[in-house]
Symmetry: D3
Subunit: 251 residues, 6 copies
């Protein structure tokens, strides 16, 4: 991986990920569970496998995968109020839950899954930027474990057809002081002129591209550079996922 | 503008917008109001100007612009339930409201606006695809009228500094049966493999790029073609906005 | 129609309606839809026809008609907060929704309708007094179109028995500065000592009489005069409804 | 009081009230409290006096009076679900709360009350028809006691100006099997073709007239008879109120 | 009953209950109803019997008993806001509802009850300390009447097996100025260093012991004294329940 | 510590705690944070220190401590629905949040804390019985760290007066198959005839005793044995807390 002359606060090169750690089997009960860390960002991803599908999908022969994202009140620098206490979920929470669900469904063959449901709970234990991208990256691994669980226990009966058609990982990129950078921690994220989250398959194709001009519109050249950074970063994350899944799971 | 040999259900070329209509001053009370139509999609955009800003912004000397998007229950083909009756707003509604607000704020100089607030209500009267892009395109015009109202009535006092630093328009693009197309009506939207909403300034820079693989991941070449289509379509919408704003407003 | 010497702000006689406009087929999707205007008051009435009835009515052989009324946030002079955002519906909204539903059900033969449901959505696009009476008046026309749609499409199978046993229209009356007047716009409504909404059938009988002393109790003689005004005004509205329904509907 | 030949299930004449009982001082804490009974209908009306007014009324020199109506879950024949558990208030509850508040405010001189607030809680302990009219009738007496309390304790300081400009009572009337009748218990109420609630001042003027055709429209002659019955019944209720208020209050 | 030298504000001995009054059949509709009074604390307990059980219990052959507790807004010294208006139930309300339900279920043989449900509504009309213990004590009597109703009407068909295996009563105890006392009214309750609610069967065994150090931790000796007081007080309440149930019920 | 002949599923003696682990400083942002483990039960306790107090306490010179308890959806054996999505908090959640807050406040000298607030968020990451007792035990340690933080940063200014007057720990006890046992995991908890949570100070006094007969009432002798077990278990937990707090905290 090439480096640049720009020095980031944490000493990384502009195209370098923060330290990534993927711990499988973090929970005893869940059919798949992962504690994923992108630097200080820490997200617990739990996959719950249940037989059956929501009513609108019954009889279709197809499964369903959905996700819920939330932040613990003190995951952030100052305490946020608890959404269960406020009695409603904020727009950002909804939006990210929907994004995670869509990203995972893009690599699931629903007919191979059969009439089973998998819910991914992505709870941010500590937030330092990139929580949604860490959540997608970790959730894919938890999903893979839950699918394997469903196969071992005979709930997934399709033969020869893989349930997961590819893997999926996500990473943030942004432009800070005019320089495109990979995997922004909180302090960079708030200063970014442009902020982009990119969801990429293991094969390198795009599932989702969400770029937002926070402080200044961006032009086509900047967009191209950001996409290059993101695709390379996602490839690194894919390697971390494969390494994690290659290990024997104790529990 | 080039055309292609592909025939769309409504006879348009792949790079052609649906008929666009922007009616200013549709409401008597609002400081700015626009009925915007992209084909059969019809969105009423009302801009409400109020002196003062939310508490967290008081004393900053800066203004604030926000948006709320909603659909009438029978704007769609089958009646949806009313969010006020359900007692909560869905994730999609939140997400689009936030997108519209961000898009408009990107072209507002908040210190030139001064401590004034403008709320854009974008209510979809009839939905036929592209409601969020029509809403952004129409809301910009209503915003411009509300800013002019604030200047005429002496609430905006900045001299020499324009409140609006540029215009903003939005359009959807997507890949249907392998062909990239501009401005998707509902029947194309549901079939699209990839769906992208692009928000572009009058100067042609990006404010927001949101591409989603609905049925199949997309590669870099497809992404490039979609962006080309969107930038050209947005330029056409900018021209419609300018023409509308050039007219004398009766009320 | 007789006139009086009192001059109203808009030049009308005390027993004169504001200009009434009933536009059928304003929406492409709804089974019946009307944009009704009483002066500057503008209400979009959409009738949604669905086969089947709520659970408590299943097997009865009878249909059901209900209504939901709402105001767009910027329909009024100053922006109101959106009920879907507040997460609950105000008392006034509930009350008017119930009134519209009751008024329409009074002219429907539920067994002739059969086990079908019609929901009337009455969304106030612009409010200038009399929104509930305009809503009832317009909703009747949308209901008539939805019933006709149900008959054309074979969902209503009763023969010889009309579904609509009569028409229904509504109008407001009130006492301003001691003078009873018909069809109050907002500026008269807030000043009225007594305010009354009257719902009348095409045959001239009462469905609902709701009189409220806003600033001073009213006596029997005043009540009688108000009822006279209302009955005459409702007859005029019935004529507008008949004229609208007599026209050929394009869509 | 004249009687008719019609025999009602409970043996009353058509123009006769059910047994009325007004017990003042039913609660120890409230500034005014009344248990009012119309036959088996039993409503507990508590008036809470507090210094100060809602924010929007501060500095006006005027007071405010409002009411909240609710039914205990087992006040009715079959248990209803608790609105606090459902998390929202039904339309009927809202509508009646608003009616009670309006009716009481019509006899209050807000500037004589000064910047004080009185809330009337009307909780239906047992329901057998006419709960809203019993609530208004009882709430007036509780209000009178709360006003007297405010005067005794020096919170109401206006001299020479009575706070209560008149008394207010309410009664239901309806047409059952073609016969107009006074004060309907539940079993008559459900059968009524037309149902009307009338709120009348001690002086005999109308504060509110709410007539609804439940099963058949009503004509002018029927309306006139119903109003006659209601005015006479309300006069009887006024006498009961005066008798109750003439007694020495123990607590 | 022994007395102590301590004089309480209301003249009671430390081990003496306030005057207890249990009025059965206070409501006409409910299958069991009791107005229970512990001094000025007044709770209306209504038992609603319905055939059938919640879905999760269907086919089990067993019944279900649950409770809902609530306070009228003006039951207390200053008016509280209505939970139905706030749209959610507070923690204390939930906690007490659950306690009452658990306490009653402890003396019900669910298989003898059969697939029937009984809901106990405990509404506090006036609060002066000990509302939850009065509610449990009264609710038991209402429950007994509802069970008898179910037997008389043939809904409970078990023979030879009593539905109620014992009775249940509850009382509060606490330490005020270092002295353990029985049955605390509000003014003692707020001053108590320790506050305990004890639920006891007719046979003298514990169903629930809830002791809380409000202002100072308590030691084992104090705990023992409080339990002695509570057991004796509960025995007195059991006698009141038996006496009430021994009377012929009019309605 | 004595042992008994009874063999528990996990091999413990009846008076033995599960393995206890208290990890301080588990979060980077919180002023105090602890991951506490009682066997497989894992609770993350975060203490948030803020200057100032709620409005009702302003100017009192005293601080405030409160707690919120919640379970992650997949902390349990089968996934529970997310309370933020349901839009309301269940009774059990409320009850436990209140218990934790009361327990901690019992050992805080509010005037020594001064006008500062500390919120304890106790989020159950994995549940295997005893989540509320683990939460209290861990929250005390997080609270101690937050108090120390407040002192180090000059927000707590009281001199000579300790803010924490004692420590607090909690443990569950219960009767299973007639045998009293300490610290119940889930599989024992569901089978317990009686279940008790006891909150004890470091000095060995009671703060809270909550005993519930789940399947059979309990007598005085059983209650005494349970209390003995709990006091001894709490003493062990106090030692674990002291050991954890004696260590140097890295972050």
């Amino acid at each position: 991986m090439s480096t640049s002359d720009i020095t980031r606060a944490d000493g990384r090169a502009t195209d370098q990920l923060r330290p990534v750690k993927i711990t499988r089997g973090w929970l005893d009960h869940a059919e798949g569970s992962v504690l994923v860390e992108f630097g200080r960002t820490r997200v617990l991803c739990a996959a719950s496998f249940t037989e059956g599908v929501p009513r609108w999908r019954k009889g279709s022969g197809e499964g369903w995968v959905t996700a819920e994202y939330a932040m613990l009140p003190r995951s952030t620098n100052t305490r946020g109020s608890r959404e269960s206490v406020k009695g409603k979920i904020g727009g950002r929470t909804h939006e990210i839950s929907r994004l995670i669900g869509r990203s995972l469904r893009a690599v699931v063959d629903m007919s191979a899954l059969g009439e089973n449901s998998i819910v991914l709970d992505c709870d941010v234990l500590q937030a330092d930027g990139g929580t949604r991208t860490a959540a997608i990256t970790g959730a894919y691994v938890a999903l893979a474990d839950a699918v394997a669980w469903g196969q071992r226990h005979g709930h997934i009966t399709a033969r020869g057809k893989p349930v997961l058609t590819d893997s999926v990982a996500a990473v943030s990129v942004g432009i800070i002081d005019g320089t495109p950078m990979l995997d922004l921690p909180y302090e960079e994220d708030v200063r970014a002129e442009t902020d982009m989250n990119v969801v990429v398959t293991g094969a390198g194709a795009f599932i989702e591209v969400q770029g937002t001009a926070e402080h200044a519109p961006f032009d086509r050249a900047e967009l191209d550079t950001l996409l290059d950074l993101a695709v390379a970063g996602a490839a690194d994350l894919t390697a971390f996922q494969q390494a994690a899944l290659a290990q024997e799971l104790g529990g």
